[in-house]
């Protein structure tokens, strides 16, 4: 063991209660007893169902609302003792909140990230310009600079908001659902950008998302907010401890630890087995499960055999001595659905 143990975690949540203040004394707790941490230049994904308190937690960490109880420690310092101004140089925040400003340009918006560093006139010096230039280059938004904010697509706007956060030049970046409303390629782009920032630019990044599989691909650590408490660990650790199934109780989805994905809970009544060409077996099983069959290894009942006919698969079903052949999975499912 090295002396790493003496270095405080980048973010450490100690029995944290988050929620909204109702009056001077009382508050409405949204999520309680959160104890979790994040290491330096780690990427942490916050996962949980809608309304469980992901945004409230992220806003509390970012200092936008005070903890109701417990503490947020940033590099070992209680965030309560950090002034608003100092906080702005420590944590930057990206939300899904749409910015409605008239005639605001992308370059103006990114430059606003320098707010905590500039004087009353907001004049940028060489250092400011350099940092803004870097933020623009890292997010690849050079072509957008002279555009108006409202001319951008959702994905472009999100990149611009991230560029603004980078211009703020903080060791911590908190992002509340950075990929909401984005299409698949844009989501990949944002996550690749974030993981680059944590790997190569030493940023500690905490983000929330509903995109579990992508979060599991990129995050060093997940904070899993379930109705029975918060679980943290590498995505694979959480797979092993089977806590994902606690994410959505009473929902039509169930978590399949083998494939690390959620899928429909199905009431599978009829059994069928699949044999033959290996590379098509998985897809065939998927389709058969969809139409209500339980896949077994028992070949004494109904059996689907996949044969390879010069590279194109053919599905055979032996029914009462008669061998039926199907050349698409769709035709196969149509047939097996008629079996009752």
């Amino acid at each position: 063991m090295t002396d790493q143990h003496n270095i405080p975690e980048a973010i450490s949540l100690d029995n944290l209660f988050v929620g909204y203040p109702v009056s001077m004394k009382a508050g409405k707790t949204v999520y309680d007893s959160i104890t979790a941490c994040a290491g330096r230049s780690e990427m942490v994904g916050v996962i949980g169902r809608n309304g469980i308190g992901k945004s409230t937690l992220l806003r509390t960490i970012a200092g936008l609302q005070p903890p109701l109880k417990g503490s947020v420690f940033l590099n070992g310092t209680d965030s309560r003792s950090v002034s608003l101004k100092a906080m702005a140089r420590l944590i930057s925040f990206v939300s899904t909140e749409t910015v409605y400003a008239w005639q605001i340009k992308v370059n103006e918006l990114v430059a606003m990230g320098r707010f905590p560093y500039t004087g009353w006139l907001g004049k940028l010096n060489e250092t400011d310009r350099e940092i803004i230039g870097e933020a623009v280059a890292k997010t690849g938004i050079e072509a957008l600079l002279s555009k108006n904010l409202h001319e951008l697509s959702d994905g472009e706007r999100q990149k611009v908001m991230i560029a603004r956060a980078l211009a703020q030049d903080t060791p911590f970046v908190i992002l509340d659902e950075p990929t909401a409303f984005l299409d698949l390629p844009a989501r990949y782009e944002i996550f690749r950008l974030l993981s680059e920032l944590s790997r190569h630019h030493q940023k500690t990044i905490v983000f929330s998302t509903h995109d579990l599989s992508m979060a599991m691909d990129v995050a060093d650590k997940l904070w899993l907010m379930t109705d029975t408490g918060i679980y943290q660990g590498a995505p694979e650790d959480l797979l092993i401890s089977k806590v994902f199934r606690k994410l959505f109780l009473n929902s039509p989805a169930e978590f399949d630890e083998k494939t690390a994905t959620f899928r429909f809970k199905r009431n599978l009544e009829k059994a069928i087995s699949v044999a033959g060409e290996k590379k098509f077996r998985m897809l065939t099983r998927r389709a058969l499960e969809r139409v209500g069959f339980q896949i077994t290894d028992d070949h004494s009942g109904w059996v689907v055999k996949i044969a390879d006919n010069n590279g194109t698969p053919v599905w055979h079903v032996n029914m009462n001595g008669q061998l039926l052949a199907f050349d698409t999975i769709y035709a196969l499912t149509l047939y097996v659905k008629s079996l009752t």
Partner: protein
């Protein structure tokens, strides 16, 4: 790396400065026009001579220029710029393109304050209206009325995020204030009612020297507050969460903005009456002309444009040949309403702040 860094400068200074300069020149022209227009025409070629006292051809000109025209022109510039800047601030802090002193009922609140002074302290007010005390009482009453409506609207807009709802509530608050005023009128003597009705039509030319000085001091403080808030108001464009995450103290900022807005719009309303639609329309014209959201540009632009439009309104109000004056309030409404209609019809994307 240099290119994006350079272009990340907050504003296109050169173009904006050029445009500001052009507007300043235009303002000078309008000032001259306003000085020579009126029932008694002072020829433009004689203006400088009358001003310096070397042209003694018509002694009445000198009196008219110094006693009436110059104070009125100064008032127009002060009122136009103050209303425009307060409208700009309201639009930013409420994140609502249709916010403005008259729309949100702030002018009506100031009017209620004035009415309380006029009716409640009737005799005192009449005799003291020429003194500093009377002027300060009137203007402070207007500030308080304006500030109270602002706080009310803010309290509501924390809960209701819909722009139109907030506007309707603003109109309701304004109506409530007006209703209170009517009750006050009902119990007041005829002379005071008439004085008040004339006040509601708006007037740039009736300010006494004392009132003008009180107005200038109050607006000066309001403008200084505005200047101190330029950077913060730019951050507020991104909404509360983002500005707070950049280190803006939302509560303090809100109080300061309300203070300067109340000072600016309340003071003007106290002495000039409710001048409609300048506060809401001018900031939009400024954004359109300068194509920027930055308050570093929009505040000076609103000052210049507001002054220009108020002078224009004053010149137009003197157009009827018979020597009759149109109520300035009607002229500003005719100038401002088309802009507001344009904002509503062509900027549909601003229709919601959520």
């Amino acid at each position: 790396m240099v290119a994006p860094g350079r272009s990340a400068d907050l504003f296109n200074y050169k173009r904006s400065l050029g445009l500001l300069f052009l507007m300043a020149v235009l303002l000078l022209l309008f000032v001259l026009l306003d000085l020579v227009t009126g029932t008694v025409k002072i020829p433009m070629k004689n203006l400088w001579g009358v001003f310096t006292g070397t042209d003694t051809g018509n002694p009445a000109w000198h009196t008219i220029l110094f006693e009436f025209r110059i104070p009125k022109t100064i008032t127009a510039i002060l009122a136009g710029s103050a209303l425009s800047v307060s409208g700009l601030q309201m639009q930013t802090i409420f994140r609502n393109p249709l916010a403005g002193p008259d729309v949100l009922g702030v002018s009506a609140g100031a009017g209620l304050g004035v009415a309380l002074v006029v009716f409640g302290m009737g005799g005192f007010f009449m005799s003291e209206s020429l003194t500093y005390l009377g002027s300060w009482v009137q203007i402070v009453a207007a500030w308080i009325g304006a500030g109270m409506v602002l706080v009310l609207v803010m309290a509501v807009s924390v809960r209701v995020r819909d722009i139109m709802t907030i506007l309707i509530l603003g109109i309701l608050f304004g109506s409530a204030a007006s209703a209170l005023v009517s009750i006050l009128q009902f119990f007041s003597p005829q002379s005071q009612v008439k004085a008040f009705v004339i006040w509601t039509m708006g007037n740039l030319g009736s300010l006494t020297g004392v009132q003008l000085r009180v107005l200038a001091i109050s607006l000066g403080i309001g403008f200084l507050l505005t200047l101190s808030l330029l950077k913060v108001m730019n951050a507020l464009l991104l909404g509360e969460s983002y500005s707070k995450s950049m280190g803006v103290n939302i509560k303090v900022t809100r109080i300061l903005v309300f203070l300067s807005t109340s000072l600016l719009s309340g003071s003007v309303t106290a002495f000039c009456g409710p001048l409609a639609f300048i506060g809401i329309a001018v900031p939009h014209l400024a954004r359109l002309l300068f194509n920027t959201a930055s308050h570093y540009i929009l505040v000076p632009a609103s000052v210049l444009l507001g002054s220009l439009i108020m002078l224009l309104a004053d010149i137009l109000s003197q157009l009827p040949p018979s020597g009759m004056l149109l109520p300035i309030n009607a002229v500003t409404a005719m100038l401002g309403i088309p802009v507001v209609v344009w904002v509503i019809v062509y900027n549909r994307r601003f229709a919601s702040i959520n």
